[in-house]
C-alpha cells in the first residue's frame, strides 16, 4: 500500500514574463516505512518537492495522494491538521523559534493540536524526546545557546512530538559539520528502524548510499529512481 502517490506534479513560478518550471511533471510512489533519499543539484527543485510533500505548498497541477487523502482537494484547515499530525518537517535552517527554550520549541506543535494528550503527558513526552536526541541537559536553553547540530536535534524532537508517520528532512545536515551530520543521520536511521517513513534530501553521496532508495532530480524532473 502506498503512503504517498505523486502523479505528474508540476510547480511553475511566474516572475514577470519569465516562467520557471521548478517541478516539470514529477511522478512517484512511496510506500510505508521506506527510507528515501532525494538527490540533485542546487536549484533542481528538491525543496519545492518537499514543500508540496509537506503540504506547505500546493502544486500548480497534478495529483497528490497522502494516506488515501487527495491533498489537492483539501482546505487550508485540513492541510494544517495534516502538517500537525501526519508530517514531521525538519528544515535545513532548523527553524526554531528564537525566544522559546528548546523544550518549549518541542512542545510547540501541541498548541495547534486538538489536545489529545494532557498537558502533563505532553511535557513527559517532550522530555523523553529531548532525551532521545541526546539533549537531556539542554531543555531550558534557547536556540542561540546551542550548536547547529544541537539545534537540529531539537528540531527533530519537535518533528516527532505529535508522532507523525512521515518525517520530511530537507538537507537537515547542510549546515552541519561531519560529526553533527553523522549524529543526525544516526537518529534518522533509528527512526526508520522504529517504523517511520523518511524522505531525506541530501547532496551527500555517502548519505545517499545508506538510503534504501534514491530519487534523483534534475531541472524539476525525476532522472533516476534506484533501490540500493
Amino acid at each position: 500500500m502506498n503512503l504517498i502517490e505523486f502523479n505528474d506534479i508540476r510547480k511553475t513560478y511566474t516572475i514577470g514574463t519569465v516562467t520557471i518550471d521548478a517541478l516539470a511533471g514529477v511522478s512517484f510512489d512511496i510506500g510505508e516505512h521506506e527510507f528515501v533519499a532525494i538527490m540533485g543539484p542546487s536549484g533542481s527543485g528538491k525543496s519545492t518537492l518537499m514543500h508540496i510533500l509537506g503540504c506547505l505548498d500546493t502544486p500548480t497541477s497534478g495529483a497528490y495522494r497522502l494516506e488515501d487523502h487527495d491533498v489537492s482537494e483539501l482546505r487550508s484547515n485540513d492541510l494544517a491538521h495534516i502538517r500537525n499530525r501526519d508530517i514531521g518537517f525538519v528544515f535545513q535552517a532548523y527553524n526554531l523559534l528564537p525566544h522559546l527554550s528548546a523544550l518549549e520549541n518541542v512542545l510547540l506543535p501541541c498548541t495547534y493540536s486538538t489536545h489529545i494528550m494532557s498537558g502533563r503527558d505532553e511535557k513527559v513526552r517532550a522530555h523523553e524526546l529531548m532525551e532521545r536526541v541526546g539533549l537531556k541537559d539542554r531543555m531550558y536553553n534557547r536556540p542561540v545557546e546551542m550548536s547547529g547540530g544541537e539545534q537540529q536535534r531539537v528540531a527533530i524532537a519537535r518533528a516527532l512530538m505529535m508522532n507523525p508517520p512521515v518525517i520530511l528532512a530537507d538537507e537537515p545536515t547542510g549546515n552541519l559539520n561531519s560529526k553533527g551530520a553523522r549524529e543526525i543521520l544516526d537518529i534518522m536511521k533509528e527512526l526508520h528502524a522504529d517504523g517511520k517513513t523518511i524522505i531525506y534530501v541530501t547532496h551527500d553521496a555517502i548519505i545517499g548510499a545508506q538510503a534504501e532508495r534514491v530519487i534523483r532530480i534534475q531541472d524539476g524532473r525525476v532522472v533516476a529512481d534506484e533501490r540500493n
Binding site: L56, S76, N95, H99
Partner: protein, 409 residues
C-alpha cells in the same frame, strides 16, 4: 490553540519589545485620556450648571416687564442683576396684573412678587452690604427658602406694613457671630428693623443668593425704599406640577397679552432653559469627546502600523507555526490578541491618567465628573480600536502561505 496559550504568547511578544509596545500604546493612552477627561469636563460643567439651576427652583417661571427676544440672554438669568435694564418705558407688571392672572389661570400655581434693591445692613459697629428682597409669604415656598431659626414673613406683616425681616445665613454669621439674630434689632439703610427669622444657607445659586439678602415685607418697599408704587419688578410663578411649565407659560402669556393688548413682558421658564442648556452641554460634551476620539483614531492607526511591522518581522515565525499545524484562525487570533492587549493596556493607563488629570483640573479650573459610563465607553473603545486596527495586519499574517513565510528572509 487555546486562549491561555494565545494570551501567554501575546504578552510575551509585547514584553519582548517593551519600548516599542509602550510607544504604540502611547497613542491609545493619550486618546483615551483625552476622551475621558474632555467628557469629564463636559459632564462636570453640565452637572454644576444643572444643580445650580435646580436649586433656584425647577418648574419656576420668571415674569418680568419688557419684551425680550432671547430667553437665555435676556436679563442675566433668573435672579440676576440688571432686571430693569432694557425694559421699554411704560412697560410694567402691577399687582393688579398678578391678581388678574391668578383669577384666570386654569393650572395650579403659586405667585411670588418681589422687588429688590441694594441695601446697607448694620448691627452695632458691623456693616455689610446686601440685597433687600421685598416679598410676600409665598416667596419662601416658591424660591425654596427654608427657615433655620425663627419664622417667615407672614401675611399680617404685609397687611400691617411691619418692619419684621428674615435675614440670610451670611448676614446672621457676619452681623451676629455669637448669638441668634432672632428678636434682635437691625439697621437697614439707617432705619430700624426687627429680625424675626434666619433663612437656611443655600450656597451657590444662579444669580444673587438669599444668603447675603434680607427679606422684607413686600409692602415696605414702597413705604421705606422709594420703590415705584404698584410695580412688581420680578414675579416668580411656581407651577405645582413642574411638567406643566410650558403650558402655564403659554396660558399666562395669553392672559396678560389680552390685558395689556401687547406683549410688553417676558416669561422665562427655568425648565425650558434647563432643557436647552442640558442639550447644548450634551452637544458640547459630544464634541469634546469627538475631538478626543480623533486622537484615539490616530492611536489606532499607530497600532495598525506597528502590527504590520511586527507581522513582517515575524513572517518566518508565522511560517514555522504554520508548518507545525497552526491554522489561519490561530495566527489571526494571536495577532488580534496582541493588538487588543496593547490597546486595552493603553486604555487602562489612559483612564488612570485621566483620573489623575481631572483631579488636577478640578483643583485649578472647573469641576469635572468622570462617570462610570465614560470609563466603560473608553474601555469599549480601546478594545474596539485594538480589534479594528488589528484585523488587517492579523489577516495579512493569517493568509500568508506557509512556504512563502518560511522562505522569507
Amino acid at each position: 490553540m487555546d486562549l491561555r496559550d494565545s494570551f501567554r504568547n501575546a504578552t510575551r511578544a509585547i514584553f519582548a519589545a517593551k519600548m516599542r509596545s509602550f510607544l504604540t500604546m502611547l497613542g491609545i493612552i493619550i486618546g483615551i485620556a483625552a476622551v475621558v477627561m474632555l467628557m469629564g469636563v463636559g459632564n462636570g460643567t453640565k452637572k454644576s450648571i444643572l444643580s445650580r439651576m435646580q436649586s433656584s427652583g425647577s418648574g419656576n417661571l420668571y415674569l418680568t416687564a419688557g419684551a425680550r427676544s432671547n430667553v437665555l440672554m435676556g436679563g442675566g438669568g433668573p435672579g440676576g442683576p440688571g432686571e430693569r435694564s432694557g425694559v421699554s418705558s411704560g412697560a410694567k407688571i402691577t399687582e393688579e396684573d398678578l391678581a388678574y392672572i391668578e383669577a384666570r389661570v386654569t393650572y395650579s400655581i403659586v405667585v411670588s412678587p418681589t422687588n429688590q434693591t441694594n441695601i446697607t445692613i448694620k448691627n452695632g459697629d458691623t456693616t455689610m452690604s446686601g440685597t433687600g428682597i421685598f416679598a410676600t409669604p409665598t416667596y419662601f415656598e416658591v424660591d425654596n427658602v427654608t427657615i433655620a431659626d425663627g419664622r417667615m414673613i407672614s401675611t399680617s406683616d404685609i397687611d400691617n406694613r411691619t418692619r419684621n425681616v428674615v435675614i440670610g445665613a451670611t448676614v446672621q454669621t457676619t452681623l451676629f457671630p455669637n448669638e441668634s439674630a432672632v428678636g434682635q434689632p437691625i439697621r437697614i439703610n439707617g432705619a430700624s428693623y426687627n429680625v424675626v427669622g434666619v433663612a437656611t444657607a443655600k450656597g451657590e445659586t444662579v444669580g444673587s443668593s438669599v444668603d447675603t439678602a434680607i427679606v422684607l415685607p413686600f409692602s415696605d418697599g414702597e413705604k421705606s425704599f422709594g420703590v415705584v408704587h404698584n410695580v412688581v419688578q420680578r414675579t416668580t410663578i411656581k407651577c405645582v406640577d413642574p411638567t406643566q411649565s410650558s403650558a402655564v407659560t403659554t396660558e399666562i402669556t395669553d392672559i396678560l397679552t389680552r390685558k395689556h393688548k401687547k406683549v410688553d413682558f417676558s416669561i422665562q421658564d427655568v425648565a425650558a432653559m434647563t432643557a436647552l442648556l442640558t442639550s447644548s452641554m450634551t452637544t458640547l460634551t459630544t464634541l469634546l469627546a469627538a475631538i478626543g476620539g480623533l486622537s484615539l483614531l490616530v492611536g489606532g492607526i499607530g497600532i495598525m502600523n506597528i502590527m504590520l511591522v511586527s507581522v513582517t518581522e515575524r513572517t518566518r515565525e508565522i511560517g514555522i507555526r504554520k508548518a507545525l499545524g497552526a491554522r489561519e484562525r490561530d495566527i489571526l487570533v494571536q495577532f488580534l490578541i496582541e493588538s487588543s492587549l496593547l490597546s486595552i493596556a493603553g486604555g487602562a493607563l489612559g483612564i488612570v491618567i485621566s483620573v489623575l488629570g481631572s483631579d488636577f483640573i478640578v483643583s485649578r479650573f472647573t469641576t469635572t465628573s468622570i462617570t462610570g459610563s465614560s470609563i466603560l465607553l473608553a474601555v469599549g473603545f480601546s478594545i474596539a480600536v485594538g480589534v479594528f486596527f488589528g484585523v488587517y495586519p492579523a489577516r495579512t499574517a493569517a493568509r500568508l502561505k506557509p512556504v512563502d513565510a518560511l522562505r522569507f528572509e
